[in-house]
Amino acid sequence: MKKIINDPSTVVEESLRGLAAAHGDILKVRTEPAVIYRADAPVTGKVAVISGGGSGHEPLHGGFVGLGMLDAAAPGPVFTSPTPDQVQAAVEHVDGGAGVLLIVKNYTGDVLNFETAAEFASADGVDVRTVVIDDDVAVKDSLYTAGRRGVGGTALLEKIVGGAAEGGYNLDECEALARRVIASVRSMGVALTACTVPHVGEPSFVLEDDEIEIGIGIHGEPGRRRVPHQPADQLVRTLLDPVLEDLPFASGDRVLLFTNSMGGTPLVELYLAHGIAERLLAERGITVERRLVGPYVTSLEMQGMSLTVLKVDDEMLRWWDAPVRTAALRWGA
């Protein structure tokens, strides 16, 4: 394992120190328990939007803390959900009296830990609502699985709902908007290589040179099937088709297209793939209204990508376009 680290057990803590040093005008970091929160928190009278999850997906979630997006993020160890006391500490730091919306990715650990924290915060008299995002079409949503995973769509959800909260939406309105975004967004990912979790020291799975893994999540877990490597035209279609069929998206729909790197895929390849996705959507009569291209929901150094398509309306576009000032996304502010 070759990584720029000192000790696997201090990776997150040391990385948070660097994040705070780099973006002290936007965010603050506290430790024990670890929370990343807006430098100007709490914002009185504003709904506080909090998310969190395992580390290793940066910039998700800490890089999205700031004006117009998240009020706080609770960073767990690499690929491990944060603990309830972290989420409780986040609530205490950013609750501005207008209620708290927790955005949780649908993984058993995340849901259980946020659920526990929400119980404690409610007992303290805070109005806490929880939304669970599950946009990954690779997982069958059935009684026989833990349900679909939350992946790329999470970044879009945090931007749109964070914008609305900044713009004055109350807790009911934020929650309703969040549920609509969750119902309208779908994603699918592929890995060309596995990633190595620092405290494990070896790759999570092994792919031969000519193999790719379709339907991966963002925790180095294997996907649904392993297939021979394929040209980009075919690969983008392999990802996009199940996404479009699932909602389903239809001719005439307006969408936000998010082409995401899993961490190790360079932008030159990502833009190449994005161009193909735009063409395929145009062929289907789907209008791409907004785009996001880059490494935003990553899986350490994994090579690979995911495609996320969100069916948008004017309300979602308004809050997508609203000012944001975070470590990873900045416009209009």
Binding site: V78, P84, V197, H199, S204
Partner: protein
């Protein structure tokens, strides 16, 4: 070991040692069908527990409550809330009683199982820690004799239960994403449950009554 708070603290210490010793094994099991963090998470949790045991309380229930809250705040993943809930429910069942009896141990194990099922919503056969804990509770209830005998029966049944998760297809937790590909691997949560019960049983050998 005695069957009071001191004995329980000793049993928790041996459990922490067992978790430390089997950390790599649990990580490897989890890498096959999950995300390779189970051994690391439990080790972090039980290391934190060790630092709190000295003044953990003077009843078995009080000690287990400290274990529960420490695991909830340090383990993360699904295992944190699930093991935390298990120890919390066991502690609540024991109440303020100063000495464990075979009957109270069985009731505490049963309460732990109920808590895990309520929190995680898994059933027997879903390839989770419930598959180790369910037969353990049944065996403990059927056993007769001392606290050590009851715990040994539970540990033996949990070992078998963990073994029996190998052919199962996971229906809960991260392994469920793999569908049929999850078959052929032991569930890491069932394995850690079996390890913990074995540690308790071994610690209880020679205990009274």
């Amino acid at each position: 070991m005695t069957c009071d708070a001191t004995g329980v603290i000793a049993a928790i210490r041996s459990a922490a040692a067992v978790v430390d010793e089997h950390r790599d094994e649990l990580v490897d099991l989890d890498r096959e069908i999950g995300d390779a963090d189970h051994g690391e998470n439990l080790k972090r949790g039980f290391t934190a527990v060790l630092s709190k045991l000295d003044n953990a309380g003077d009843t078995p229930g009080a000690v287990l409550k400290v274990v529960a809250s420490t695991l909830i705040s340090t383990v993360g993943g699904a295992a944190g809330p699930l093991y935390g809930t298990a120890f919390l429910r066991a502690a609540a069942k024991l109440g303020t009683t100063g000495t464990l009896t075979p009957e109270s141990v069985v009731d505490a194990l049963d309460a732990a199982l109920e808590g895990v099922v309520a929190r995680g919503k898994a059933e027997a056969g879903d390839k989770t820690m419930v598959d180790a804990l369910t037969p353990a509770v049944a065996a403990a209830r059927a056993a007769s004799g001392s606290v050590a005998d009851v715990l040994k029966a539970a540990a033996d049944a949990a070992d078998q239960g963990a073994q029996d998760t190998v052919p199962l297809v996971a229906r809960k937790g991260r392994a469920s994403y793999l569908g049929e590909r999850s078959a052929g691997h032991m569930d890491p949560g069932a394995r850690s449950t079996a390890l913990l019960l074995r540690a308790f049983a071994d610690a209880a050998q020679g205990a009274t009554p």
